[in-house]
């Protein structure tokens, strides 16, 4: 675990000095503010509702499905491209520490992005009696949802040496994991119910209302854990080769 923390700190420092995370954070905060306060007929002052569920938390899955692959695509592909992967492989560090360190650093960046949107919630709170329960639930849901997408993206990044390919595959799989809830229709049993439960969006929606359900937590943790494990196995196999 100490190794994982070392890798985590190294990755964070790399984020701090690279312009890419700043660009990511600026795009994310500008986009979310614009969509919430300005966009279309649904803009905040026209709606007049003290809630972030409309125009903010309902957009998060779609915003993150594009932005998370942008963070995750370079995590392993960049190492492959610059040739530092071999150097990493020779380090006396266990593979899971490497994977965990990289994942946690990227997740922290995602957390920073979400924290930077807090002024929106504070603004709404100052203008009306905002119920903070659904806000915290929404943020937790967004963090867990982003974490699951990130774990997927990091694994795909490990599978391919090309950043663009990693971005596109993560994007497609991410969209599929959102849309899958509609494939099964409204069926309460069999394949429909299974596909519904498999969807990232189904579990995120529930948390966005302010309800933290053990099923949703277990789902996000297990999906994240599964992709991180796949990532460890993929990197391990490279090491062996």
């Amino acid at each position: 675990m100490r190794d994982a923390l070392t890798i985590y700190r190294k990755e964070l420092k790399a984020y701090l000095v690279s312009p890419i995370p700043y660009v990511f954070l600026i795009i994310f905060t500008v986009f979310m503010s614009y969509m919430f306060f300005w966009y279309g007929d649904g803009q905040f002052f026209v709606r007049g509702k003290a809630t972030l569920e409309m125009g903010f938390f309902d957009l998060i899955p779609w915003v993150l499905v594009f932005l998370v692959p942008a963070i995750s695509m370079r995590l392993w592909s960049e190492e492959t491209r610059t040739g530092t992967l071999e150097q990493l492989m020779t380090l006396p560090v266990r593979t899971y520490s490497l994977v965990l360190g990289k994942f946690l650093a990227a997740w922290t960046l995602l957390l920073a992005a979400l924290v930077l949107t807090l002024p929106i919630a504070i603004t709404v709170s100052s203008l009306g009696d905002l119920d903070w329960g659904p806000v915290w639930g929404g943020y937790l849901g967004a963090l867990l949802y982003g974490g699951a997408l990130l774990a997927l993206g990091v694994w795909i990044s490990a599978l391919t040496g090309h950043q663009i390919v990693a971005f596109l595959i993560t994007l497609v799989v991410g969209v599929a994991l959102i849309m899958i809830q509609f494939v099964g229709g409204t069926s309460k049993s069999g394949l429909g119910a299974f596909l519904d439960q498999l969807s990232l969006a189904t579990h995120y929606d529930s948390m966005g209302r302010g309800v933290i359900d053990l099923r949703d937590l277990v789902y996000f943790v297990s999906v994240t854990g599964l992709f991180l494990y796949l990532n460890v196995q993929t990197v391990e196999n490279r090491r062996v080769r």
């Binding site: 701090l16 000095v17 700043y22 954070l25 600026i26 905060t29 500008v30 503010s33 306060f37 300005w38 905040f44 002052f45 007049g48 509702k49 003290a50 930077l116 949107t117 002024p119 603004t123 709404v124 203008l127 009306g128 009696d129 119920d131 903070w132 329960g133 659904p134 915290w136 639930g137 229709g185 409204t186 069926s187 309460k188 069999g190 429909g192 439960q197 189904t202 929606d205 529930s206 209302r209 302010g210 309800v211 933290i212 359900d213 053990l214 099923r215 277990v218 789902y219 297990s222 999906v223 854990g225 599964l226 494990y229 796949l230 196995q233 993929t234 391990e236 196999n237 062996v240 080769r241």
Partner: protein, 639 residues
């Protein structure tokens, strides 16, 4: 090396498959756990305490069947909500509540829905340039014991109210004895005896409410007519609906209070200004007295004479007889959810309701606090509400004066009073009925007639003042009755406060004091024998001096009058409230799940712009600054 690679790969694949299965199993196991934390301030996604109590004491097993399938994708939120609610209810009720989902996506489910005559809904959506129509099911059926099934249609539309609907139904099914709703409409004779509401129609203006909504749609045989409030309210009545009371005698207020003190719930639909006033010439327009004013003031509520207007356009109703005479009319305020207590299950189910010339309700907070009673304002005007003391506006549909902004306020129009009450007549004699009052007056008159000389003698004995002239003429009957000294005595309240002349049909047959047969106490001052005889005949419940009361007061009744047919909200409100009041404490205290987001304050356009610009620019600007600083530091370190 190749062999090692193969082993590693196969090991990896095997472990991944194993992990996938473990994860799947874990999710399946947890799916039945139903452990969750509701972070919302009002616990919007948690069963109410009242619901829990009702479900915990279920008598007979209840079976809920949900027919669901082929509904639009937007209904997924409703589906999850319903699913969560039913799961939670099952956890509380245990084996007593079973839930079955019939998946109508499957052919088998569709067949079952058709067999049970479940409503099929049509949905339209756009696919490309085409309008596609699909059909689906979203209905719930509740069954329990010998009671017939209850069907709740359009689940996707009413899902936020489902807890209250379901629990109310289950509560009714768990009752040991049926409830009874009492109905009385002691309206003005103008409405009750003549055909003012339309040619060829029955007298009275609440026929549609009573016959169609209360009797046919809601309560059936549970609705009982109460003929008069001059007698005690029948003991088997749970809720008494008093619609548009007009000049009720003091004894009616007494019986109402006794009914409330015994635990009966009162639903008062007052109607001080109504269509009657609108069609009268200006000079004849007078607000009508319900006769309950004094008692309501004792409770802590004043329903003011006059009008309430709402000058917020969204809270005004549309008035229009023809193209020339149409517009928004503030004195028909439209109650909207924004200004309703939507935690109340009934108010929560009513999106908007038009009222016609309501009166303002004023709460005497001191009196309420002293009596430890609570008042809930269930509906009020917008902050642009206005009290108008005179009622000329009933005839000024299009040309009413705009009040000064200082006169605007939020005005309660529907309130619920709950808590202890000490009788207004505690330590006093029970008020007399109008017939008894008339009888007493007649008796006195007769006595006066029989002994005119005695009266004169008494007057003769009294020292005369300068301006007093004793008439030698013998007094006539009516002069004796109206004799000033009697009016000034403290007995005034008891005896001659409301000396309404008895109508022909109210006069006791044979003139033997037959009105005493109604179980009333004898008039004060009656001889002992007469009193004990009447007491023997008294069949009413024992008189109470204190008790806990529940009184719902609405300051308008016209939204449920016959001429409001087609405006269902008012009728639904009355039926819903009567139904709600007939429930147990748990049901009455059940709070609705108000999932409507709260409102933000009105913000000026310039401030809006500032807020938008700051939110859009501040954080990116800060990030840019941090980036530049980091870049500069790194550059300086390198150099």
């Amino acid at each position: 090396m190749a062999n090692k690679n193969y082993l590693t790969w196969s090991h990896s694949i095997l472990s991944c498959v194993l992990l996938f299965l473990v994860v799947l199993l874990l999710n399946v196991v947890v799916a039945g756990a139903g452990v969750r934390v509701d972070l919302t301030q009002e616990g919007l996604y948690t069963l109410d305490k009242g619901s829990r109590n009702i479900l915990e004491r279920l008598r007979d097993p209840v079976a809920i069947t949900v027919y669901w399938g082929n509904v639009p994708a937007q209904a997924a939120v409703a589906e999850r909500f319903i699913e969560g609610l039913l799961e939670e209810m099952q956890e509380v009720a245990g084996d007593k509540l079973s839930v079955t989902w019939i998946d109508t996506d499957e052919e088998e489910g569709q067949q079952e829905a058709e067999k049970n005559n479940i409503q099929l809904y049509s949905f339209r959506r756009t696919e490309g340039n085409k309008r596609v129509e699909t059909t689906g099911y979203m209905t719930m059926v509740i069954e329990s014991g010998a009671d017939g099934p209850t069907t709740i249609d359009q689940l996707a539309r009413f899902y936020t109210q489902l807890e209250a609907i379901l629990v109310a139904d289950i509560d009714k099914r768990s009752r040991l004895s049926p409830r009874t709703i009492g109905y009385i409409n002691p309206d003005s004779p103008l409405f009750l005896s003549s055909d003012v509401t339309g040619r060829g129609r029955r007298p009275g203006r609440f026929n549609y409410l009573k016959d169609e909504w209360l009797r046919r749609r809601a309560f059936g045989k549970e609705l009982q007519d109460v003929q008069s409030l001059e007698e005690p309210v029948p003991a088997d009545i749970d809720v008494l609906l008093v619609v548009a009371p007009w000049q009720l005698p003091e004894v009616a207020a007494f019986h109402l209070e006794q009914f409330a003190l015994r635990g009966g719930r009162i639903f008062l639909l007052l109607d001080s200004v109504n269509v009657e006033n609108a069609y009268l010439p200006n000079q004849e327009r007078e607000p009508r007295s319900s006769g309950l004013e004094e008692w309501l003031a004792h409770v802590g509520v004043t329903v003011e004479y006059g009008l309430v207007g709402d000058f917020n356009r969204a809270n005004q109703s549309f008035y229009g007889f023809n193209r020339e005479e149409q517009g928004r009319y503030p004195y028909w305020p439209q109650l909207t959810q924004e200004y309703m207590d939507t935690t109340n299950v009934v108010m929560n189910s009513i999106p908007a309701m038009i009222t016609a010339w309501p009166a303002a309700i004023t709460i005497d907070d001191t009196r309420m606090e002293e009596g430890e009673r609570t008042v809930k304002v269930l509906a009020q005007t917008s902050p642009l509400g206005h009290r108008r003391a005179e009622i000329g506006a009933v005839g000024e549909k299009l040309s009413h004066p705009l009040p000064s902004t200082k006169e605007f306020e939020q005005i309660p129009l529907i309130v619920m009073i709950d808590g202890p009450l000490e009788s207004m007549w505690k330590g006093k004699d029970k008020p007399l009925t109008p017939a008894q009052l008339a009888e007493a007056a007649a008796k006195k008159a007769a006595e006066a007639n029989a002994e005119p000389l005695k009266d004169e003698a008494i007057e003769d004995d009294a020292p005369l003042k300068d301006d007093e002239v004793v008439d030698d003429k013998p007094l006539e009957d009516d002069e004796v009755v109206d004799e000033p000294p009697l009016e000034d005595t403290p007995e005034k309240d008891k005896e001659l406060e409301e000396p309404a002349p008895p109508k022909e049909d109210e006069k006791p047959a044979g003139g033997d004091g037959g009105e005493g047969d109604d179980g009333e106490e004898p008039p004060a001052g009656d001889d002992e024998d007469g009193a004990s005889e009447d007491e023997k005949k008294e069949e009413g419940p024992p008189r109470l001096d204190t008790g806990k009361v529940k009184i719902l007061i609405a300051s308008d009744a016209e939204y449920c009058a016959d001429y409001f047919q087609g405006q269902d909200a008012g009728f639904a409100f009355v039926v819903g409230m009567a139904d709600w009041l007939s429930g147990g404490e748990d049901l009455i205290n059940l709070r609705a799940r108000n999932t409507n987001p709260r409102q933000i304050e009105a913000v000026e356009a310039s401030t809006q712009k500032t807020i938008q610009v700051v939110n859009l620019g501040a954080i990116p600007f800060l990030l840019l600054c941090v980036g530049i600083v980091v870049f500069a530091v790194r550059r300086s370190q390198r150099s």
